[in-house]
Amino acid sequence: KHSIMSHSVPERDPVLDFAKYTDQRVRVRFQGGREVEGFLKGYDKLDNLVLDDSIEFLRDPNDLSQVTDKTRPLGLIICRGTQICLICPSDDMQEISNPFPDEEEVEAEGDAET
């Protein structure tokens, strides 16, 4: 007889080991576009985070996908794991040139094909 409970999912190690990033400055991006940075002080299995000395990067009010350099201080915060999209060390970020082809070029190609 097999019961539903006889096969339990083995617990896997988390893909990202938060212990490594504790006390380091990390950048966190949320669903909906918010972006914050702070020192990682705590976490749990559901990816909720505790950040200290944190700041939020304010977005362009006319284009909410664009993050500006303007910031506001938040301090000690809890970030909801359900809303987190991305976590990365804040030191290792570097802006690169736009890898996407020019929008005008792509449109011209499309017209030529039809």
Binding site: G32, R34, K41, G42, N62, K70, R72, R80, Q83
Partner: protein
Amino acid sequence: TRKMASVIRIQPLALIDKCIGSKIWIIMKSNKELVGTLRGFDEYVNMVLDDVTEYDITPNGIKETQLDQILLNGSNICMLVPGGDPTFST
């Protein structure tokens, strides 16, 4: 011999629990923020708040609404700030 790392790690939900009874500032996924006194929360971080000021952030200004006691649905809560002292700009 192995050294024990004496890292003091803060559990996020434990920190929220410590806020019960005091002011907390909630930042939603959208452009809405609330400040109120935390009465309690559940495992989904739905929250019961007292004496709430709701801030609607628009490019033209911030609209404030006062609410007595609310149950705030946790599904859109992005960040929680103990202390409830909001700063809206630099």
